[in-house]
Structures are given as C-alpha cells and as structure tokens.
C-alpha cells in the first residue's frame, strides 16, 4: 500500500490471499467480528495470524520441549528467556532469525536482525553484554554467495559495533542447499538484577501507553507476512519490506530505557518487533486481559500521509511501547528528551478488552483482543518421518591420501577454515569483559564487576539434521552443552532458532517433528531446558527447502572465571588425552564429504548417558585445575581437533594411533579413528596424564593417552607437517575467497 495505490474499500478474495490468509481463516475473522473487517483490521489479523507471529504450525510441537529447571526464572512466551546466575543476577537471552530480509538486502537484513534481538533482551531490563550469530551461506561457488557474506558480515558489524555490544562468537558455514535461502540467526545475551526484570503484561486501566524511540515510516510493512512465505523469482521486489536499521538510535534507546528502568516508572514494556505496533500493543493488552485505545495521529511519523494500515503494520526499527505508572509521564519524558528520542503518549489502557484505533477523528479499527489472540490458528499439520539413511559410501581405495594431507585439506575447507576475516570485523572486546574471544569452543564473557563469567555458544550440524532430524536435533543440543563444558562452564539453558522449509509439506513437517524429538531427549538428559526461541519456516526457494537447521544457542555459568580453560595448547611436553569412546563413525563426516564430494550415511549417534558422564567428568577436572587445555571433538574429528589446539597455542604435538588401528593396515579403521565424528568426545592436555587416566577410570569414563605436545609440527605415526603449513591452509581460504571477483 502506498500513496500511489489508494487503499481498497472492498475486501476481495484477492486481497485476502495477498494477506496470506486462507479462506477458512477469513471465515473465522467474519465470525469473530460479526461483520466484514476493513483493510486496517484485515492487515492486523494477517500479521497476528502469520506463521511468524502465531507459530500456528509449530506450537503443538514446541510445547513438548522441556522448559523448566530450578534455575529457570522465565521460559518461552516472553521477549526472551531468563535464568538465575546467582547473587541476585539473571542472564536474559534469545536467538532469532532474520533469514528472508538478509537474503534480499544482506546489510540491512542482518543489521536489523541484530537490532531486533537486542531489543528483545533490553526490553526485559537486561543490559546486553554479548552478541552471537549463526550464519549459513550457499556454496562458495554460487554467484551470490560472496556478496551475501560481505553484506551480512558488514551489517552485523555495522550495527553491533556502533551499539557497543561485543560480538563474541557464532558459526559461519557454507552449503549449496542454502544457495537460495541463507540463514542469519542472531543471539543476544544480557544481564539484569533479578529484582528488576520487566515484562510485557499491561496493567492499570487508565494508564498511559507511551511510544518511544524512532519515528514510524513505511519501511518493513508486512515483514512478518514475508517471513511466512516461500521465495520465488519476484522476491527481489520485496526489497522495500526490508527494514532499515539505525544503531545509533538503538544505543540511545538502550541507555534511555536503562535509565528509566532504574526508576519505578514502568509498568510494562514491549519492543516493536515483527508486526510493529500491532503485535506489541496486542500482546501487552492480551497478557493483561485489558483493552487499548490508541490515537494514531499521535504516533510520531517519519513520512506524511501515512494511513492507519501503514502505521499499524510498519516495522520501522528502534521503537518501544511502554505502560507507565500514573504521574510518571513527565519524568519519563525528560529521560527520553535527554537522549533526543521521540516520546509520545499515544493511548490509554481500558477495561473493554478491545483494541480501538482512531485516526483523523474517525474510528480506524475496533477489534476484540482476546478472541483474536485465542482464535489464532493452530495446525496439526500432517507429517512423515524422515527415512533412515543408507550406510555411508566407501571411499575408493587410494582416494584418501596421506592423513596429514587430508588434515590440511580439511583445515582449509570452507566449513573449517578460519573465520578470522569475519570476526575481526566485529568489535568483540567493547565493554572490556571478553575473556575468551571468538575462535574457541565457547565465548567467555565476565559478568561485569564480579569474578563470574558466562559462557555462550551457537551450534547445529545441518548435514546431520538432513540425514536424520532426530539424531541431528539431539546432536545440536549436545554439542552446545559440550562446548560450554569444554571451557569449564556449567551449561544452564538454551534458546532455539528453528529454521525449516515449508511446513505444509509432510516431509518438511516430519523434519521439524523429528528435530524437536531429538532436542527434547537431549534437553531432558542434560538438564538443559529451552527458555526462549524462534521459528522460521518457509525457508524455500523455487520449491527447494534448506536442510533442517535447528540452531541452538547455549548459555553456561563459570563461578570463577580464573578456572576457565581454552583450546590452546598451554605448554610443551604435556600429555594429550582423548576422553570418550571412539568407534570411527565416518557417516556424514566432513572427511567423507571432502573425499567423496557428497554426504552419505547416517550421522553419528549421540549416547546421552555417555555425553553426560564424559562432560561432567571434564567439568570436574577443569574445576579442579587438572586440565591445561580442552577442546571438544566435532566437525573433522580427532586430528582436526589436535590441529586446532596446536594452531591456537602455536605448539605442535606428536600423535600415536592406538594399537587397535595399527600400521594403516585397515585404511577405513584408521581414517575412522583420525577423522570420525563420534560424539561426546573431548581432547585435553594435562601435566600429569597418568593421574588423569586414573581419575577417568574411577569415573568410568573412556580415556586414552594419544600423544604429547611440543615442537612446531603435528607428527603422526612417523609423518610430519609444520604448524605454519597448517595455519596457512586454515587462514588462507576465506580472505582469498572474499578478495575474489
């Protein structure tokens, strides 16, 4: 809708369809209203009932995830999840997708993704202390990939750097299945005092509803609806629905909100995210069982001649809605004026249970709140389980080459190549509490002014999820838990960002149901509940879906940051100990992908009991100061893990394969030991290997000495490759790729 196309008076089937509503859904609207909606009302229904806002396809399954633990203060349903981190403090965090906008306009799409997730966190009273992001790009050879990487990374940096929140970790991988639909998942972690947390539930009939932040423009109208449909050739035309970010205003908004939150002025607060003023006002009123009256003429507007429809559906950024305590208006206004932000009383809470909008003296909309919210559709979509993968293909003899050459190839492949080019564009040190910078298993950020620290990570292995969504979902949760454990943290909770294809296809719905099942198992077994999350469906282009990608953002606590360890070899002559059982599982391994150019076989199974036992052992040993370096064994397997530890510490290692796989006689077994991706494993160094092996024996944890640190090379059964050569392979790929045509 724009000035050039006047708003229709008549609601036609075409208009209903263009709002993404089904005939059945429209019938329900007629039923709720007892009349035809006007265009503004139809627009409001369409965004409130969009997949993005209503979770209509996913709700049934999301409800089955564990969300409770003694340390959980608030689970899913609010802007972000809240966990207790002791001493009257809470960590508040969430991950959210901004996939479709980032594909259409990578810089602004990614930037506003960061802005949106920051607001979800500080709207609850938490000062954001860290950002992470999980990025999935298409094949590096695809024509658009380089442009998308450059734009997304610049956008994330441009926003986060200016706002002054460090970007401390994440993932960045490549796969042809994302060629037409990249994933940009952004996570923010904040810290609040447990007695000063803010919720969105409105209360107090007669209390003022206040709009603060940026002015409302025509940008982002129907973003939520766009995020709820597939892409096609015309998607470029959707560029105007991508919002434009202003990180400077966001920074002012953070400071102004923090300043006001230190007083008792705020009754309820909600950021204007997807579906803007519509969803924020609806949510606040609905949770408080109240009504709202808004005078849209009072909404600060950036453009002239905006209609009620446009104002309600705009997704202009950096805006918040608050309910203030009576009498606090002047004080609140002075805070926002100091920060040079708009402040407008745009309405009032009522007891009518209705949303009444007026504009130009006329009633622009009049909708019942709870019926609309409660009647929001919930589907039990048909689904079919994902068939089991056939066994992994064998590598033709002679195709695998000497293991250290394979190692070098793996370290230089797009998924494992150093992402320094990415994270050097992010300010990862502002706020001066970053203890472990990007590049390790988990980022570690000190809780300001204390000796505690939060560990955080983001994980998912899409090729596992595609081969077996249940096992893949289990693995994503387990890997997040493992990464937090590997720095010595106690894993506390996760946020999930569920990226899938079109849920109307039973096989896609089956992937979703499967991933949830696996996640549920792992969350239970590891006492690692879900406290917040986001679902992004319809990640398809021309009918081709992305691999199921349930990205897991994990947060853990280190009581004493002095005890944290990282992956860097810490000294020469230390024993290198492998913790966990190695069966040599090569199915879906990166090694196999590299050797065969395709992904085959089932993913490595996760034994949750062993996972728990091994992880608890590792954490106890780190806590006891028995371990000098620790790294989880993930993509690429054991030899890659050794090399990553060597590169980080700039110290080599001599590795000896165990007698069970002697003399390269069975290449398959040998490759499995070196490059298999068996789960639940860690590589650690210690100055006293025998005593650590003894402890492991007592704990019933599989452990074996596989080598010793030292020198300037990786030596393996008589072969040798220098750290410099490996580093060159690891560091070279991404900058060279990005410098390309």
């Amino acid at each position: 809708m724009s000035e050039t196309s006047p708003e229709p008076r008549q609601i036609t089937p075409d208009i209903i369809a263009r709002h993404g509503l089904t005939g059945e859904e429209y019938a329900k609207i007629l039923d709720i209203l007892g009349r035809e909606p006007n265009i503004t009302e139809l627009g409001i229904f369409s965004v409130m009932w969009s997949e993005h806002c209503s979770y209509k396809s996913s709700k049934k399954w999301l409800k089955t995830l564990p969300t409770e633990a003694p340390w959980v203060i608030c689970g899913p349903g609010e802007n972000a999840g809240i966990i207790d981190i002791g001493d009257g403090q809470a960590a508040i965090f969430k991950m959210e997708s901004h996939n479709h906008p980032s594909f259409i306009e990578p810089y602004q799409g990614a930037a506003t993704g960061v802005g949106g997730i920051l607001r979800d966190v500080f709207t609850m009273g938490a000062r954001p202390v860290a950002n992470l992001n999980a990025l999935r790009f298409g094949d590096p050879g695809h024509g658009k990939t380089r442009h998308l990487v450059a734009g997304v990374v610049a956008g994330i940096g441009g926003y986060g750097n200016c706002v002054g929140v460090p970007t401390v970790g994440g993932e960045c991988t490549f796969h042809g299945a994302y060629n037409g639909n990249i994933l940009v998942n952004a996570m923010t972690v904040g810290i609040a005092d447990t007695d000063n947390i803010f919720y969105s539930q409105a209360s107090g009939v007669g209390n003022a509803i206040v709009y603060v932040g940026s002015k409302t423009g025509r940008d982002g109208i129907h973003g939520a609806t766009m995020a709820s449909t597939e892409f096609n050739q015309d998607s470029e035309e959707k560029r105007p629905t991508v919002q434009v970010g202003d990180p400077f205003t966001e920074k002012l908004l953070i400071e102004a909100c923090m300043e006001l939150m230190a007083t008792d002025a705020i009754v309820a607060i909600q950021d204007m995210g997807a579906a803007g003023l519509t969803s924020s006002s609806f949510e606040m009123a609905s949770k408080g069982d109240l009504g709202v009256e808004l005078d849209l003429d009072r909404v600060p507007q950036r453009e002239e001649g905006m209609t009620a429809y446009e104002i309600m559906l705009s997704e202009s950024q950096e805006r918040m809605l608050m309910v203030l305590r009576p009498g606090a208006e002047d004080m609140a206004r002075s805070v926002f004026e100091k920060w040079e932000l708009d402040f407008a009383i745009i309405g009032v809470l009522t007891d009518t249970g209705r949303m009444v909008l007026t504009m130009g003296g006329e009633r622009a909309a009049d909708l019942p709140i709870n019926p609309l919210a409660e009647a929001s559709p919930e589907y039990d979509r048909p689904w079919t389980p994902t068939p089991a993968s056939p066994p992994a293909a064998a590598i033709p003899p002679g195709d695998d080459g000497p293991p250290l050459e394979s190692l070098k190839r793996l370290l230089g492949c797009p998924d494992l190549a150093s992402k320094r080019w990415v994270w050097e564009q992010y300010d990862h040190m502002v706020m001066a509490d970053t203890v472990h910078r990007p590049g390790g298993d988990a980022a570690v950020v000190r809780v300001h002014g204390t000796a505690k620290a939060l560990a955080m990570t983001s994980d998912c292995t899409p090729r596992y999820c595609l081969a077996d969504p249940v096992e893949g979902g289990r693995q994503a949760v387990a890997e997040a838990w493992r990464n937090l454990t590997a720095v010595g943290a106690r894993p506390l909770a996760i946020t999930d960002c569920m990226n899938f294809g079109n849920p109307e296809k039973p096989e896609i719905m089956g992937q979703f149901v499967g991933a949830i099942e696996g996640m549920r198992d792992a969350c239970r077994a590891l006492e690692f509940p879900v406290v917040s999350g986001n679902v992004s469906l319809y990640n398809e282009t021309q009918g081709k879906a992305i691999p199921p990608t349930p990205t897991i953002g994990g947060v853990g606590l280190l009581e004493d940051l002095a005890l944290a360890v990282n992956l860097a070899f810490a000294g020469e002559g230390q024993d290198l100990i492998l913790i966990g059982e190695t069966k040599g599982h090569l199915g879906q391994s990166l090694y196999l992908c590299q050797a065969l150019g395709s992904e085959t076989g089932p993913p490595p199974p996760v034994d949750l009991k062993a996972e728990r036992g091994n992880g608890d052992f590792i954490r106890a040993m780190i806590g006891g100061g028995r371990i000098t370096a620790c790294h989880d064994i993930a993509d690429g397997g054991l030899l890659v893990a050794v090399a990553e530890m060597a590169l980080a510490g700039n110290i080599g290692a001599r590795v000896t394969a165990p007698a069970a796989t002697p003399d390269n006689r069975d290449p398959r077994l040998y490759a499995g030991w070196l490059f298999g991706e068996d789960q639940g494993r860690y590589l650690v160094t210690t100055t006293d290997g025998d005593s650590l092996l003894g402890e492991a024996g007592k704990a019933g944890v599989p452990a074996a000495k596989i080598g010793v640190t030292g020198g300037g090379a990786i030596e393996l059964d008589g072969q040798r490759m220098t750290i410099d050569e490996l580093r060159d392979a690891n560091e070279r790929w991404l900058p060279e790729y990005m410098a390309g045509p």
């Binding site: 750097n161 920074k251 706020m431």
Partner: protein, 230 residues
C-alpha cells in the same frame, strides 16, 4: 587524582575507560554529559571511544561541536592533560586540538584485533611508564583509523617528538604488514605540541587487566596517576 570522562550520545567505551582509570586511581571518576557546559575541576579529561552521533556525518565531526568541547579546549590550553581514545582521537582532530585526520581504513572494513605498538615518545604524562621503543600489545577496533596529515605537519610531528606510538611487528619493526589501517608512517597516536593532549586509535583500557588477556594498557593509567596525583 580527579579525572572526568566525557560522555557523548553514542559513546560506548566510556564505562570501560572509567573502570580502567578507577583501577589505577583507587577512587571514583566523574562522567560528564556532553551537553553540560561546566566541567568540574579535574586533573585529566578523557574522550572515550564509540560512535558519537553515530559517526553519521564523519567520525568525530559532530562530537567536536558539542557544548562541552569548548571547555575541554580551554582546559587543554591551560595544560590539563586530555586523552582521546579511538573516537576520542577522531573528535580531538575534528576539534583542532590535534593535527591531522583519521580517514576510513585502507581495507575499507572495520577491524578489531590486537596490534603491536612501538612507543615513540615516553616523556609524557601518558607514556612515562613505558620505555622509548618499547613494544606493547593493545587492541584496535575501528573503521576510520587511517591517520593522515600533510607533509609539513608530519615533519613537525616527527621533529618535535610528537608521535606517541606507531604500529609495528611483534619485534618492533615498523612495516607495512604491521599497519592495520593504512596510517601514514604507521602512526597510531599523536601528541599536541606541549605533549599534554594525546590521541590514539588503540584501546589501552581494553587490555589493562591480566584476566582479559593482557595488561600492557595499564601502565598508561598508572603513569597518569603517578604524574597527576600530587
């Protein structure tokens, strides 16, 4: 010793430098809002890093015209030490308190990483605890850190010993490889003629504590306290 940190809309290293200063001072540091016109009597003024006014016009350009900057300039003329870090350095050049300009990095990208720096002038209140030619490690985090000044100015800076530090290799060589942003002569920090105003792109406040992976920045704050506490 009394120190003040000027806070602009968009400053984001204000708290960081306050923490680092308080660690060395052992007492509180005052935060002064940019729109204030009077500054309490202080021994040191710090212009912190960040994105004042979003850096929307040009880095530091708007901040340089904030009301408080008149008073900062007056104090600087009277010899009160002024330290500008990153965006603070940009503001000081825009305000004419330091010569030269900071242009977009030669690589046209934001860059955040540790760099090595060779101390060029140790005879100042800021660098007195470093040795001449000492190599230290500090982080940078900027998009516009590419220092430029005309030949005449550069010669004056050189001749008068006003180049506080330069980007160098780990063993102290001033090389092109060690230059992260294209700065002329690898210049990372410059001093006013009387050496009481220092602007530098690296962030000493970010590595002023061993727990954060290095403490080379601490000597700058300790040195200031020693020199100014009297």
């Amino acid at each position: 010793m009394k120190a003040a940190v000027i806070v602009f809309p968009g400053s984001n290293c204000d708290r960081d430098v306050k923490v680092a200063l308080e660690q060395s001072i052992g007492g509180p540091v005052s935060m002064v809002w940019h729109r204030d016109t009077d500054l309490p009597p202080v021994d040191l003024i710090v212009i912190p890093g960040g994105f004042s006014y979003g850096d929307y016009l040009r880095s530091g350009a708007m901040g340089a015209h904030s009301p408080i900057m008149k008073e900062v300039a007056a104090r600087a003329r009277r010899g009160v030490p002024v330290l500008g870090i990153c965006n603070g350095f940009q503001i000081l050049t825009e305000a004419g308190l330091l010569p030269g300009v900071l242009m977009p990095n030669a690589g046209l990208k934001f860059v955040c990483k540790d760099v090595y720096l060779r101390i060029g002038q140790a005879n100042t209140v800021f660098t007195r605890l470093y040795r001449p030619d000492q190599v230290i490690r500090l982080p940078i985090a900027h998009h516009d850190g590419n220092y430029f000044a005309d030949a005449e100015t550069c010669k004056a800076l050189e001749d008068e010993g006003r180049i506080a530090m330069r980007y160098c290799s780990p063993d102290g060589e001033i090389t092109e490889d060690a230059n992260p942003n294209g700065s002329l002569g690898n210049i990372a920090g410059v001093l006013s003629a009387n050496r009481t105003v220092l602007g530098l792109m690296p962030h000493p406040e970010r590595l002023a504590e061993a727990a954060l992976g290095g403490a080379d920045g601490r000597a700058m704050f300790d040195g200031l306290v020693e020199a100014l506490a009297a």
